[in-house]
């Protein structure tokens, strides 16, 4: 940790700001989380970041909980709580006010549709970047990369429950294949 400030406050402003820029949800903000947690603040290593992503995907609940894990690694239970709230509350307040605005006006403006259409390619671009950055942090060997490709193809082509693929990945890892 190289910041002079209290790490709790760093978590608050880091994730509070990220909350408002997470177009497309928590998974779209993964490159920014990686940039800040690994490259800028040196809260964790690449390997730890990949681990934290794995744990968040194995846990029940929304994807945003990867932030809880990052917060915990920075400042324990308090960090976990603060990081999660900082990531969720600003946008939740925004959602509350915007939904009230819509419910009251009921205007049939075409702006919401235009904004939505404009944001879709942005969020897909962000998610693609998430995929690349996570693949670079997770896939250290060519066998690991093959597992990623296999899981991607299976998930794309079949309706198999994703938990099976996580389980298979864990077994291959335990067996020392990866």
């Amino acid at each position: 940790m190289n910041s002079d400030a209290n790490p709790i406050w760093t978590l608050v402003w880091t994730f509070g700001l990220m909350s408002l820029f997470a177009v497309g949800g928590a998974n779209a903000a993964i490159p920014e989380m990686h940039r800040i947690a690994v490259d800028v603040q040196h809260w964790m290593t690449d390997k730890q970041f990949a681990d934290v992503f794995a744990i968040s995907q194995m846990s029940p609940g929304p994807n945003v909980l990867i932030v809880t894990l990052i917060g915990y690694s920075v400042a324990g239970v308090g960090g976990a709580l603060v990081a999660t709230l900082a990531m969720c509350v600003p946008t939740a307040v925004l959602a509350y006010y915007v939904s009230r605005l819509f419910a009251r006006s009921r205007t049939h403006s075409r702006w919401p549709a235009i904004i939505q259409a404009a944001l879709v390619p942005l969020s897909i671009g962000l998610m693609s970047a998430s995929g690349l950055i996570l693949a670079l942090t997770s896939d250290r060997t060519w066998i690991a990369a093959m597992v990623t490709v296999a899981a991607a193809v299976l998930a794309f082509a079949t309706r198999l429950n994703p938990l099976w693929m996580l389980l298979a990945g864990g077994c291959l890892g335990f067996a020392g294949v990866i």
Binding site: A29, P62, M127, D139
Partner: protein, 202 residues
């Protein structure tokens, strides 16, 4: 939409029949939705709100979700607040928010503590390495699924915008706020210009 809207009189099967949920019902419902959802919570949210409790029709749910989707931040978290507050005001929004995040946060915090203690054990390191490889694959397949409509529509401009954001964030590793402050106005301007162009042709 208020529950006593005119459509509620018709006997269509997709009309919500139950009374508006109370604070505890909201908390419990969202806690269940959240704990059932591995990877994606949305499916479970739809199942509970529309099919099980009949608190909203499928159309109302889609409308609410569309709104939450174009706002930034975790979509399901936004949905919980918008949904809860529609029935019970701000306390309802807080109850749904707390139900969605509280219980899984507790679980994840316990997992984080276990990882902090045992993360250096070799077997665990190997297992997590394997799981993360598979999890990345799942994320990549989700990205391709989202990309398909753009490809099918031959939405060239959408694909260019997507590639530009991918380059800026994934390859150049530029900060997210800076990229979006340029990309969002640009993308909205392009979309607006195209739609107006299409309209003039007719």
């Amino acid at each position: 939409m208020p529950p006593d809207s005119p459509t509620a009189a018709s006997p269509a099967p997709d009309i919500p029949t139950s009374t508006p949920p109370g604070l505890i019902a909201l908390f419990v419902a969202f806690a269940k939705i959240s704990l059932a959802g591995f990877g994606g919570v949305l499916v479970w949210a739809r199942r509970a709100i529309v099919d099980q409790h009949r608190w909203m029709t499928a159309d109302e749910f889609n409308e609410t979700y569309a709104l939450c989707h174009f706002l930034p931040g975790p979509n399901v978290v936004n949905l919980s607040v918008v949904f809860g507050s529609r029935f019970r005001g701000i306390p309802g929004g807080i109850a749904a928010f707390a139900g969605l995040l509280g219980p899984p946060m507790l679980i994840v915090t316990i997992l984080a503590a276990l990882y902090a203690h045992f993360g250096e054990i070799d077997a665990l390191r190997r297992i997590l390495a394997g799981v993360s490889c598979a999890a990345v694959g799942l994320l990549i397949s989700a990205v391709f699924r989202m990309m398909m409509p753009l490809v099918k529509r031959r939405d060239l401009i959408g694909l260019v915008v997507m590639a530009a954001v991918f380059t800026a964030i994934g390859l150049l590793r530029l900060p997210l706020p800076a990229v979006l402050l340029v990309a969002i106005p640009l993308s909205i301007a392009i979309t607006f210009a195209i739609r107006r162009g299409v309209r003039h042709e007719f």
